[in-house]
């Protein structure tokens, strides 16, 4: 499934990251793992897409970050969802559901 990642729509990745973070605080690797986990291993986010997305979303104000200690006592950057991010998630979820339901039913009808 990894090959599909190039085609992963930007909005989808944002949606996945916002959902994955939830109300918690995660560093990069944590977020990547969580995305993999909640999608049942379908999506593996590689750092080449993950970090640009994180930085872009932080610039947009959907996430904010702080430096902390990782499990292995390394300095790591943690991300947290902002209220703006929560709102964004709300905005983007609805159309996505419509599209995915539509496509699913279209494929089933075939």
């Amino acid at each position: 499934m990894e090959r599909n990642q190039a085609n992963l729509l930007q909005g989808t990745l944002d949606l996945l990251i916002l959902t994955a973070i939830g109300d918690g605080e995660f560093h990069g690797l944590g977020i990547a793992r969580r995305v993999e986990q909640i999608t049942g291993g379908t999506f593996k986010v590689r750092p080449g897409s993950l970090f640009p997305a994180l930085h872009r979303m932080e610039e947009a104000g959907w996430l904010n970050s702080f430096w902390g200690e990782s499990e292995n006592n390394r300095r790591a950057r943690y991300y947290r969802r902002t209220r703006e991010g929560e709102r964004q998630l709300g905005i983007e979820t609805e159309p996505w559901m419509i599209v995915s339901r539509a496509i699913a039913s279209a494929l089933k009808a075939n």
Binding site: H27, G28, L29, R46, P47, G48, S49, F51, P52, H55, R56, E58, E59, A60, G61, S70, N72, R74, R75, A76, R77, E84
Partner: protein
């Protein structure tokens, strides 16, 4: 929100670039390390674990690059990069850059300065509230116009006309002497009605306006002072209100001071002192009555249109004429009332020259824009290779377009800065020149630019809107022509473009048409401007060449204004004492006095009524007129005016002798058809009563026509009278000297003071200065037009050079092949210049045609030439053609020098 936070973050990134970079590094490293740690825990060797982690990650640098790429700061940074790149391109190509920047800058600057002047002088509302409702009322006849209302009509109209909220007026009283406050000074005095200032919305401070009962005949002697006089003469002392001043011997009380920014609504007059109009409330017209000429200004009632008001005014005048006594019948015959916006009346003659200059700078700006457009088109095509290569190396189309956009913007910004500088300097000069003070008097430059802009020029400022418009046009041009090739360039198929540039194929048909069209338009504009300049230069030469009738060299003039009602005997006594003193000044060859000097700024000519032959006098309005000038015996010698026949005056022509006169050629031609010596006529000069006191005079000489009022107007019939027989209160001094005339000024002043310490001497200047003043406006308009025309021609020359230099550079290979196949170098030169000649001929033909069409606009400013003057048109055509051809010869010669070997090598 998103935009704002992106911007802040971009700013932060740019400001703390180092820290942001190191944090990014740490973040990604810790990610890799974490994966490696996991792998080590699962038993892989540390080195292998790290290698695998890095591989999974896809490379540290690649990830960092991906993060940087989509950061907002990258956009900002790349724009800065574009600007830097653009500036570097411009530095690398200084010829293009300077040509473009200076061309556009001149266009923007000149347009902004001239248009700001036009706006301030012609278009901007007058500085009075509701100025668009203000009208100027005058009378016109089939033969002439612009005559003020006569006072009985005015007084009747004040109460009769319903279209006007108020009808106010002023009467020009000319120069008077103000005494009793230190040195005597000459002041300009106007009478005005009490409602004049309220109509304009002006309130005197300190003090008060005239009261309603003060502006009727026999009213109290009140005066208002101009702010200027108040400051200079009374040191701005507010207690001046209530103080008494003496005006022409009459004691009057100061009641108020006008505000500093008050602008008197007549550019020809700048009053120092205002007195109430002494209008007779009796509106009947009669021969015996003292009639004033009232400059009437009115404010329309709200809701009344100008047409309605004019209709009422005309009906009123026709009605009034029915009540005129029979002797005034001819006066009302064919009379029309004229009502025009005060603004138009105010700007008057300046209008045409300003509009002409505006048209010129407009043409220059257009030429500049066309030029820059051409330069950019040529440059963009020569940069097509660069564009294509950059595209091939991965620059996106947006990025390419943006880069051209940024370059155009940078260019336009530089040009606007240059233009703003020029506009600021020019308007500063105009303002300085309009201001009374040291600068205006001394600087040659100020003298040069002063006159045509009048006194409103103090209000000329760089107009933001105009600057915006001019630089907007420049921006539009640069962006449009900078961008078009970028868009088409970035759309071009890489392979064909690279091949095309390699083969140096000539540019596309459409672009060539566009560039040639621009060039033809430029040349046409150049011809039009040149034709206008030639016509004005020829007119100027005609004005100077037309015989003035006097010798302006080596002579000094000055003016003493005695009080209006000075008895003749006193004037005579003053002159009799003054003349020997003037004659005694070392260096003076001849001293004379006269009631009028040539080229007097305010030529005062008592339009004396004449009668010829015996028998009863004709009715007043049918009597012929002439201009009477009283002179001392040596005047003609001092002025250098030739006595053609008969004699000049001498000391025996005194009050006791037979009344005599000398006339000019115009007089002799008009009234006697040639020889007039010994002929007689009757005049009523100095007569208080129009019918009586006509005296017989014998003509003893004819002198050359002298241009008294201006160098351009027709010479009026003039009668010279001996100053002893007709002493007039305006005494002009004229010295013909053997030495530098200006060195006599203080001696002249001493002679006047020694004669009468109460009399100020003013307007001391050489006759040559008078001539220079008289032609100053025309000279300035001519010079400016010529400058603009030269500018346009040079710009067109640059345009021709640019277009053909480019086309030759594109055709190097073709030229090489032609040479290789046996064409001579002369043939190659001919090939290029024939192509240029076709465009030049088309452009100049267009220009000559346009100049013919537009010549009507200029005709009112021409003297001695018609608008379609073949000499001027062909001179303009020839000059433009020669310059354009020369400009095209440079690239043609380059083409002929094409080095065959290197062309073949480069393939």
């Amino acid at each position: 929100m998103g935009m704002g936070s992106r911007l802040t973050s971009a700013l932060r990134t740019l400001l703390h670039k180092q820290r942001v970079e190191s944090e990014l590094d740490t973040e990604i490293r810790s990610y890799v390390d974490a994966i490696a740690d996991e792998k080590i825990e699962s038993g892989i060797s540390p080195a292998e674990a790290r290698r695998q982690a890095l591989a999974e990650c896809g490379g540290l640098e690649q990830v960092k690059e991906a993060v940087r790429d989509q950061s907002a700061s990258t956009t900002v940074e790349s724009v800065i990069q574009d600007i830097r790149y653009g500036l570097r391109q411009m530095r690398r190509n200084p010829a293009f850059t300077w040509t473009a920047v200076i061309t556009l800058g001149l266009g923007i600057g000149a347009t902004t300065a001239i248009f700001s002047a036009v706006y301030a002088l012609l278009l901007r509302p007058l500085p009075y509230p509701g100025a668009n409702r203000l009208m100027y009322v005058s009378q016109a006849w089939p033969k002439g116009s612009g005559m003020p209302m006569i006072s009985p009509d005015f007084v009747a109209a004040q109460s009769a006309l319903k279209s006007f909220q108020s009808l106010a007026g002023f009467v020009d009283m000319g120069d008077r002497n103000l005494t009793g406050t230190g040195d005597p000074v000459r002041v300009k005095v106007v009478q005005m009605t009490a409602n004049f200032l309220p109509m304009l919305g002006i309130v005197p401070r300190p003090g008060r306006n005239f009261l309603n009962r003060e502006d009727r005949a026999g009213g109290p002697a009140a005066v208002l002072l101009s702010h200027r006089l108040w400051e200079s003469k009374f040191q701005g002392d507010p207690s001046v209100v209530g103080r008494a001043v003496t005006l022409d011997g009459k004691i009057q009380t100061v009641v108020g001071v006008l505000p500093a920014q008050f602008l008197f609504p007549d550019p020809a007059i700048e009053p120092d002192v205002y007195v109430p109009a002494d209008l007779d409330p009796d509106t009947n017209l009669s021969r015996q009555k003292y009639i004033l000429m009232v400059n009437a200004t009115a404010r329309l009632h709200d809701g009344v249109t100008a047409q309605q008001a004019h209709a009422e005014l005309q009906a009123f005048a026709e009605n009034r004429a029915k009540g005129y006594p029979a002797t005034f019948g001819a006066f009302a015959d064919g009379r029309r009332m004229v009502m025009e916006p005060l603004q138009r009346d105010l700007t008057g003659d300046d209008r045409r020259s300003l509009l002409l200059l505006l048209a010129c700078v407009g043409a220059v700006l257009l030429t500049a824009c066309a030029n820059v457009a051409n330069l950019q088109l040529a440059r963009a095509i020569s940069r097509r290779h660069e564009t294509v290569v950059r595209g091939a190396l991965g620059a996106g189309r947006r990025r390419l377009v943006r880069q051209f956009l940024v370059e155009s913007l940078t260019l336009a910004t530089l040009a606007t800065a240059v233009g703003l500088g020029i506009a600021l300097a020019a308007t500063w000069l105009i303002r300085q020149a309009g201001m009374p003070g040291e600068f205006a008097g001394t600087s040659q430059m100020a003298q040069l630019i002063r006159t045509p802009f009048g006194k409103l020029s103090a209000a000329v400022q760089v107009d933001g809107g105009v600057l915006l418009f001019a630089s907007g046009l420049a921006l539009l041009t640069t962006v449009l022509f900078g961008l078009a090739p970028a868009i088409s360039g970035s759309r071009t198929d890489l392979r064909t473009a690279l091949q095309g540039t390699g083969l140096r194929m000539s540019s596309g048909h459409e672009q060539r048409l566009l560039r040639h069209g621009l060039l033809i338009a430029e040349i046409g504009l150049g011809v039009v401007l040149l034709a206008a300049a030639c016509l004005l230069i020829r007119s100027f030469a005609n004005v100077l060449h037309d015989d003035s009738g006097f010798d302006a060299r080596q002579s000094l003039t000055g003016v003493v204004q005695l009080q209006r009602n000075t008895p003749s005997a006193t004037v005579k006594g003053f002159v009799d004492q003054l003349l020997p003193r003037l004659q005694a000044i070392p260096g003076v060859r001849t001293a004379a006095v006269t009631s009028a000097l040539p080229l007097d700024k305010m030529f005062f000519c008592p339009n004396t009524m004449l009668a010829f032959g015996e028998g009863p006098l004709p009715p007043p309005l049918e009597r012929p007129g002439g201009c009477a000038i009283g002179t001392s015996p040596d005047y003609f010698h001092a002025a250098g005016t030739l006595v053609l026949r008969g004699r000049a005056f001498n000391d025996r022509d005194n009050a006791a002798s037979v009344p005599v006169a000398i006339v000019n050629q115009a007089f002799a031609r008009l009234y006697f058809k040639g020889d007039v010596l010994g002929k007689r006529f009757r005049t009523n000069i100095l007569a208080k009563n129009h019918d009586r006191e006509f005296t017989d005079r014998t003509i003893v000489g004819i002198v050359r026509d002298v241009r008294y009022n201006s160098l351009e107007d027709n010479v009026q019939p003039v009668i010279y009278l001996p100053v002893d027989q007709v002493p007039l209160p305006r005494v002009n001094l004229l010295l013909r000297s053997d030495v530098e005339p200006t060195s006599l000024a203080s001696a002249m002043r001493r002679a006047v003071t020694a004669t009468d310490a109460e009399q100020p001497l003013f307007d001391v200047e050489t006759m040559e200065e008078r001539v220079a003043d008289a032609v100053a406006p025309r000279r300035l308009v001519m010079l400016l037009t010529a400058c603009f025309a030269m500018l346009a021609v040079v710009l067109s020359g640059v345009g021709v050079y640019g277009v053909f230099a480019y086309s030759v550079s594109q055709r190097t290979q073709e030229m090489g092949i032609r040479l290789a196949l046996g064409a001579s170098r002369a043939q190659v030169v001919r090939l290029v210049s024939m192509q240029a000649l076709r465009l030049i001929l088309a452009g100049s033909a267009l220009g000559v045609g346009a100049a013919c069409l537009l010549s009507k606009c200029l005709s009112s400013m021409l003297v001695g030439v018609t608008g379609r003057d073949p000499v001027s048109l062909s001179a303009a055509w020839a000059l433009m053609t020669v310059i354009a051809l020369l400009a095209s010869m440079i690239p043609a010669a380059q083409a002929a020098r094409t080095d065959l070997i290197s062309v073949l090598h480069s393939e």
